[in-house]
Symmetry: C2
Subunit: 321 residues, 2 copies
C-alpha cells in the first residue's frame, strides 16, 4: 500500500446517486440547505483559504444553474460554482485550460487562488480529489452547452450530472476520456519519451488516448508501436488517476518490451530512448522541485515527471522492485 494518487480521494461520502438526483425536490432541497457550500473556480483558479480548498456558503453566491451538485459530505451538500460569466460569443475555455504538460499560470496568487495542478501538489489529498471532481464537471459544462445531436442549447438536469436537449430529447453525460500510460520495461532499463515542447531533459512514460473499439491492452500495444516502433508483451495494469485537464482518466501499465529498437520518427515525440536503472535512480534522487515547467539545468541528462503524475508512480513502482 502506497500513498494514494494525486487527484483521488475526494472526501464526499456521497456523490448523490442518480435515483435521488432524478427527484427535482431532492435537488432543490440541496440548493436550499443552509449548510450548502461550493468549491468556487474560474479562470484565475480555485479559491483557497487557510491552506485548504475554500468551501464558500452557497447563500453567498449567485444561485442558479451555475451551481452544480457534487454530492454531500458530513456537513451537508457540496456544489461546484463557476465564477466566470460567458463572454459575448458564449464560448468559454476549460476553466483550467492548461494541463499537466503545458504552460500554466504561476503558483497561488495573493488573493487566495491556486491553479488546478497546485491544488493536488499543495493541498491535502482529499482537497486535491475534490478539486479534480469540481474541475472535471465545470470543464464539461463550459464546453458542452449545446446538443451534439441537433445543435440546440441544452438544460442542466440531475443537479448537474446530465444535460438534456429540450428539442430532440437527447441526454448528454459528462465525458471521461480514458488514456493509457505505460512504462515499457526491459529488465534493468525502461523506455521514456519526450515531446518537443517539454523543458530540457524532461522525459516521461509514453501515453495516448484509447481509440474507439479497442481494449486498454490493445491501446497500450498500438501506442507504443505508433510512438516508438516497439512491440510489447502483455500489459500489466498498475493504477489509475483522474487527470482533469480537461477530462482525462489515466490508466497506468507496466509492459514488457518484446522486440524492436526505439524510433521516435512519428511526429508526436522528439525522442524515445532507454534509460538504465542507475540513470533513473540518480534522476529520482536529484529532483528537488516537483514542477513540470521549471526549466531544467542545461547539464541535466534526465528530469523525471513530477511526483503528482501517475507516470512518476509507474517509474517509482518499477524502481522499488
Amino acid at each position: 500500500v502506497t500513498e494514494p494518487n494525486a487527484f483521488t480521494g475526494a472526501a464526499l461520502e456521497d456523490r448523490g446517486s442518480d435515483s435521488r438526483r432524478q427527484d427535482p425536490r431532492w435537488v432543490a432541497a440541496q440548493h436550499r440547505d443552509p449548510h450548502a457550500r461550493a468549491v468556487v473556480a474560474g479562470s484565475a483558479g480555485l479559491h483557497v483559504a487557510d491552506g485548504r480548498l475554500a468551501l464558500v456558503p452557497l447563500a453567498e453566491l449567485a444561485r442558479g444553474a451555475r451551481a452544480l451538485l457534487l454530492g454531500r459530505d458530513a456537513l451537508g451538500p457540496v456544489f461546484a460554482y463557476d465564477e466566470d460569466s460567458p463572454p459575448a460569443d458564449g464560448v468559454l475555455p476549460p476553466f483550467v485550460a492548461a494541463g499537466g504538460r503545458r504552460g500554466e499560470p504561476p503558483a497561488g496568487s495573493a488573493d487566495g487562488r491556486v491553479a488546478l495542478r497546485e491544488a493536488a501538489a499543495l493541498l491535502p489529498q482529499a482537497d486535491g480529489g475534490l478539486a479534480a471532481y469540481a474541475a472535471a464537471l465545470l470543464n464539461w459544462h463550459r464546453r458542452h452547452r449545446f446538443c451534439a445531436v441537433c445543435g440546440r442549447a441544452t438544460d442542466v438536469a440531475l443537479g448537474g450530472l446530465v444535460r438534456v436537449c429540450p428539442r430532440c430529447g437527447a441526454s448528454h453525460h459528462p465525458r471521461t476520456d480514458p488514456v493509457v500510460i505505460m512504462l515499457v520495461i526491459d529488465g534493468d532499463r525502461v523506455l521514456l519519451g519526450r515531446q518537443p515542447s517539454w523543458p530540457h531533459g524532461r522525459y516521461s512514460a509514453l501515453a495516448g488516448f484509447v481509440a474507439p473499439g479497442e481494449s486498454l491492452e490493445e491501446a497500450v500495444e498500438r501506442e507504443v508501436l505508433e510512438e516508438a516502433r516497439l512491440r510489447v508483451g502483455a500489459p500489466v495494469y498498475e493504477a489509475s488517476q483522474p487527470w482533469p485537464f480537461p477530462s482525462s482518466l489515466m490508466l497506468g501499465f507496466h509492459v514488457p518490451w518484446a522486440s524492436g529498437e526505439p524510433d521516435a520518427s512519428d511526429d508526436e515525440l522528439q525522442d524515445a530512448r532507454w534509460f538504465s536503472r542507475a540513470e533513473i535512480k540518480a534522476a529520482a534522487r536529484d529532483d528537488a522541485d516537483d514542477d513540470w515547467e521549471t526549466p531544467g539545468d542545461p547539464g541535466d541528462e534526465l528530469r523525471l515527471p513530477p511526483r503528482l503524475a501517475i507516470a512518476r508512480r509507474l517509474i517509482e513502482a518499477w524502481l522499488s522492485r
Copy 2:
C-alpha cells in the same frame, strides 16, 4: 492465457496515426485507393458474407463524408460506411441502438446482415473487433454532428477521427465511456445483481459509469456501495473490453467484500444477493444458449451473463481459481 474478449482483436495492423491523418493528401489517397473497402452498417445491422464481416469495395458505395477511415489492413485501407440517410429532422439513433441489456433485433436475417452483438457471437474474433471499432465510430458521428461548445454543425476531419467546428474552432474527439464492472467476492460466494428489465433468473456483476474526477478503484467502491450497500476492499483489475452500445469501455475487477449485507433498495437493481460456488457452477454448466434475451425457464434459479460479456469472464476466472 485465455481466449481474447469479444469485441477485441480488430485485424487492422494500422489504425492510421494522427500525424498521417493530419495530411489531407494522405487521407484522400486512402479514399482513392483501388483496394479501399468498407464495413457497411445501418439500422438493419452489419453486412456479412460467407460467415465473415463483408468488406465492400468503397468504389461501390457513394463516396463522401459518410465513409470514415478505420485504418489499413494487409490489403489496403478499411473504412466504415453508414448506409442510413439522416431523416428530415436530422436526428439519427445510434446505428445499433439496442445494447447488451435491451431488446435487440433477432438473429442474422436472410439478406446477410447481423446485429452488432451477433457479430461478436457468430463471426471470427477479428471480425467482432472490427465491427466494434466501426460501430463505435459510426455511433459517435451519428450523434455528434453539432458543436457542443457553440451549436454549429461540424465538419469531419482526420479521415473521421475528429470533428471540427467551423465557427468556434473546437475539435471534438470520439467519446469512449469508461464503465467499471466488478465481481464482489467473499471466499466461496460472489455477489450478483439483477435489473428489473432482465429475463427471469438473469443475474450479473454490478457495473456503473466512472464519474468525473474519480479513479477506477474509487468508482468500484462507490458503485458497490450505491447499488448494494456493501463496503469492499482493494479492487484487483482483471481485463477490459470495448462495448460499443454505443460507446462504452468495460473495465473488469475482482473485489473482496469487506462489510455489510446486500441491500438493493437503490432503484437501479431489483435484487442483489450472494451465490455459492456450487450455484454458479451449476448455472455455468446449464446455459446452452448464449443470448441475453432468451426468456428463462421459470424453474431457473440463476442464469449467468452470456459468454461474450466480460461479466461472464470475471465469473469464469473466479470459478477456475
